[in-house]
Symmetry: C2
């Protein structure tokens, strides 16, 4: 009796192997042979599932997005009903702290580098960013309803900044471990400002400014 | 009499051609032939100055950094003694609004994608980011001395966030024109919060929070 092959599962296994290699050793480590070795299959099997090196990377991109989406869902669920805490966990989930997040970042950087080439993958990357922005916008609105963030702020503008900050921090952190250490010690300035931890101090400064120049109408 | 060739100038010309192509058409457009055509020289000349495709990109990286550094110096000088305005101009200088900034971003994305490969170029990218962070830290400290930003905030933490935000916004903007439009219409949330434009509103929210839970020690 022939073995029943679960094609979806095998493709995922191979993509997971690609992502592990990417997290450990970067783009240059990705070859048909290295992926085959990492996954414990022959190069023939790898060639069966992926039509090219680029296809291998695109499938890895999709797998990384799927794993990140699952992970964020699980992690934020733990935060229960606290929208600001969910927001913080969502930010943290994109930092390069483990194999999952490092490989997600590296596979995204590969396709960011193609921006302007108008590939199918660029479209998928754009869609992922839009979806991330929508999730963050929803959480900011929930935090506004809960009185954690001022209702006067534009949720979609903040969301746009917040995901840019998260992505930018992650990219800089992968190049410079100091950025990561600094983030782990104190979170981000934007989140601290949003939840008002620094606002009283800023407000004090604002009062000083008032003496020097007319305050903007608010 | 043989022509005197200014090698530095010719190398810059060729790198500028690479950067123009990159801004217009992305990474796939960069070949020895296309660079030669864009610069108005033969492929032989291109091969004389660059030992490989990768070397062509590294030289373009250095040229882009040099052009960006010159541009930022000129632009911020115009802002005179206002540190917050200089900070805003420095943020804007990284947004993909023209050929210079789009090509800078695209060449950086190519080398970000190599992060983990530990190339010589990774080291140069890291050094550029450190230098950018130091400049922003200096401007934040000057803005603190001028009473524009609270002196209680950690300048180096804010600088780290601010350049991550600027870079993240630029990367997202190159993929999604909506991000760029939104930035042009309102700047960034972080800068607005830093200069206290939103702080009074946030402070109002903080007061509401106080009734629900103990305030953190400040």
């Amino acid at each position: 009796m022939p073995k029943i092959v679960d094609h979806v599962k095998r493709r995922e296994e191979l993509s997971d192997a690609t992502l592990r290699l990417l997290a450990r050793s970067g783009l240059r480590a990705i070859t048909t042979r290295s992926v085959a070795e990492e996954a414990g299959w022959s190069t023939g099997v790898v060639n069966h599932y992926f039509s090219s090196h680029h296809d291998l990377l695109i499938q890895a991109l999709r797998r990384a997005v799927q794993r990140q989406t699952d992970y964020v869902r699980t992690v934020t669920r733990r935060a229960g009903d606290d929208p600001l805490e969910r927001l913080r966990l969502m930010m943290q989930a994109s930092l390069p702290l483990d194999e999952r997040s490092v490989s997600l970042l590296r596979i995204f950087l590969i396709f960011y580098a193609e921006a302007g080439d108008n590939t199918e993958a660029s479209e998928e990357v754009r869609e992922y960013l839009s979806s991330w922005r929508r999730s963050v916008t929803r959480l900011i609105k929930a935090a506004q309803s809960a009185g954690q963030i001022s209702a006067d702020l534009e949720a979609v503008d903040l969301a746009s900044d917040l995901i840019a900050l998260a992505d930018g921090l992650a990219i800089h952190a992968i190049l410079d471990p100091d950025v990561l250490t600094r983030y782990e010690q104190r979170g981000t300035a934007l989140l601290a400002l949003l939840e008002g931890r620094w606002s009283l101090r800023v407000e004090r400064t604002e009062r000083v400014n008032t003496e020097r120049r007319p305050r903007r109408p608010s």
